[in-house]
Each structure stands twice: as structure tokens, then as C-alpha cells.
Symmetry: C2
Subunit: 214 residues, 2 copies
């Protein structure tokens, strides 16, 4: 398997965690989001993923995109160390938590959006940071509210085994911390983050541990 | 089953289509996104969905949120008229198409974001529309590129049966048309949209057909 990745891409980071949790070997193919005007925009990468976004997975010639779809595919084709619960309601809960990150937080604070705020909209660095703090804060508050009220929350997002939702939570916290966002208001999120951060699968997926880290 | 919905909510529209495709009866509970300062923000609705976003599903007391998670749950618990393919690669493809809408297009053009552009950022109506045209255009180009290049695309997003990806495509086209976005550059998207629009399940889920339509 080949994973098209960038060390700081939050979505690629999710898939790296999932691959590690399942103990799957893969070759990392770095795609630099800033160099050469953005290597993800080049024809070579568009042939892999026409969305020109990371990550993409090449599984023996089959090309997959979208981090959550990739993780579900890995879970279905390599069922050892499942990343989703066995019951339909549990799966719905874990998917909803993952989608809270992937649909309600990350799309508003990723590189292409922040570049648009400063470029075409001509907003200042200060207003850009205000934007990030606002949307990441809103999203983290949602995640905290879901996790704090539900007895299914355990050491991890769902029970005591890390899964799909944790694969999303940890990179989003990393991203928030890069922007110096105060995480004190999200104690359940941060408790789960600390439990994840202690596991080798999460440590080895961390941006700083990647071959393309700067 | 009770679906918390708003006639023009793109994410609620997805679930209405899925419920109709499966022939499932449900009670629509309207939550008005603009009235009373946004009914989704009230405590009564936050008890249903702490994210204060639509839709939510109440299945005999079990509360579910996030449209894609809800649709997968419906598909798992009511397997008749499946909305996902039987093979893992097909499922990954359909989920990736759905997530292209749900993660890469819709989050940037939904109500809360457009309100923030005009409110806190103080941008003009014109710049707001420029923002919508840019991001919806980028996203539709991604969707078109994925659909046009892949032999799995049929009368619908995946083969000749409507499914999860079509549940996402149609509301996003509706949303784009509300903003007068020129769709001529996305012929595959529009061909599939036309095939969907001919089916009763899609007709009956249309915003104009909802009890809370204005």
C-alpha cells in the first residue's frame, strides 16, 4: 500500500493513525502542499486524486480518496483491530463524532481556505487567526458536548479501544494547538487526546515523526 | 422515526431522500434555522443534538446526528433498497463521493459560515457570493472529475441504482442553483441530477415539497 501524505495534513494524519492501529505496513509518498505551488495541484497527483487533496491510498492499484472512506475501507478489508463498534448505533455514534471533525471543523481551517482568506479576500493575518479560533472553538465545543454527555465515552471516544473517531480527534487537536487555541474548555477531548498520545500508533503517526517532516 | 429537519437544509435533504429511497415512514419535526434567532440553537434542540446543527434522527428514542452517519445507520438497520454497493471498493468510492460533498463543498457554503462572513467579518453581499461561487465551483469540479473519469459511474453516481452519493449530489446542486451558479461545466453531475430528479423519492424530498416550505 502507498499513502500519499503530507506530514502536517490533518486528513492524512488520520489515515496514518488508522494504518498504525491496524499494524499495516505502507509506503509514504510525500506530496508537498506548499512547494512548487502545491504539488497536490500537479497533473501527476490529479491522476491519483482528481480532487487535488490529500490523502490518497493506492491499494495494489486501486486508488482511494477521502480519509474517512479510506479508513472504513481498511477496516472492511483488514478486519483485525476493528476501528468501528460491532453494533449499528455504536457505529453511527463513532461516524458522527468523526464527521463532526471532518465536516464541521477541519474544512473551515484547512490550508486552501486560509489561503483564500488572505489572498482573494485580502484579510489580515489577525482576522485569519480570528476565523480559525472561532470555527475550531465552535467545533471543539460540539465534540466536547457530544463526548461529555454520553456514557459510551470511555478512555477513548467510544469505550476503551481507540477507533475511527480518535483517528480524527487527535489530528484536529494537533491543528488547534498549532494555532495556540486554548483547549481548557474541552476537558473530555483533552483527556482522550492524552490517552491516545500515549499509544505507539498515534506517536508514530505524528507529523514530527514523518519522513517529510520539516 | 422522527427527523428534525428544515426544508432548505442541504444535510436534512440528504436524509429525506434516503428515507424515501428506502420507503421508510417518518415524522418531520421542523426546526427553523432563521426564526427565533435560530431554533437549532435553543436548549430544546441542543438536547437532541448538542452540535446545534441539522439534521437529527430519533429512532425509537435513540438520537443520531450527522447526515452521512444517519444514512449509513438506516442502510444497516433497514437493508432493503441498499444505498451502498456490496463490495468494499464500491463502498469506498461512494463514500468518497458523498464526502466530497459533505466535507469539501457544503461546509463552506452553509448558513452559519455565510452569516459569519457578513456579520463578524463585515464582508459585502457581493464578496459573500464570490465566496460561494468559488468554493461550490471548486467542489463541483472535483465531483465532475471523479464521476467523469470512472467507468463505475452509470445513470447514477455508482451504477444504475441511486445511493448515498446521489443523496448528497442532488441537494448540493439545489444549493448551487439557489446561488445562480453556472452548472454547464459539470455535465456528468447534471446528467445524474436529472436522472435523480425524475424519481419520486427525490421529488418528495425536495425543499418545496416539505411541510415547512415557505
Amino acid at each position: 500500500m502507498k499513502l500519499y501524505t503530507y506530514f502536517r495534513s490533518s486528513a492524512a494524519y488520520r489515515v496514518r493513525i488508522a494504518l498504525n492501529l491496524k499494524g499495516l505496513d505502507y509506503e509514504a509518498v510525500p506530496v508537498h502542499l506548499l512547494r512548487n505551488g502545491g504539488e497536490q495541484l500537479a497533473e501527476a497527483y490529479r491522476a491519483v486524486n482528481p480532487s487535488a487533496l490529500l490523502p490518497a491510498l493506492d491499494d495494489d492499484g486501486a486508488l482511494l480518496s477521502q480519509s474517512l472512506a479510506i479508513i472504513e475501507y481498511l477496516d472492511e478489508t483488514r478486519p483485525l483491530a476493528p476501528l468501528l463498534p460491532a453494533d449499528a448505533l455504536g457505529r453511527a455514534r463513532v461516524r458522527a463524532l468523526a464527521q463532526t471533525v471532518a465536516c464541521d471543523i477541519h474544512p473551515l481551517a484547512n490550508l486552501r481556505v486560509l489561503k483564500y482568506l488572505k489572498g482573494p479576500l485580502g484579510l489580515s493575518e489577525e482576522v485569519k487567526l480570528q476565523w480559525v479560533v472561532h470555527w475550531v472553538g465552535e467545533g471543539m465545543a460540539m465534540l466536547e458536548a457530544h463526548l461529555a454527555r454520553d456514557p459510551h465515552t470511555g478512555r477513548f471516544c467510544h469505550g476503551d479501544t481507540p477507533g475511527l473517531a480518535d483517528c480524527c480527534l487527535v489530528p484536529q487537536v494537533f491543528n488547534a494547538q498549532r494555532f495556540d487555541i486554548d483547549m481548557a474548555a474541552y476537558p473530555t477531548v483533552m483527556r482522550i487526546h492524552a490517552n491516545c498520545a500515549a499509544l505507539p500508533a498515534f506517536v508514530q503517526a505524528h507529523p514530527a515523526q514523518q519522513p517529510d517532516a520539516e
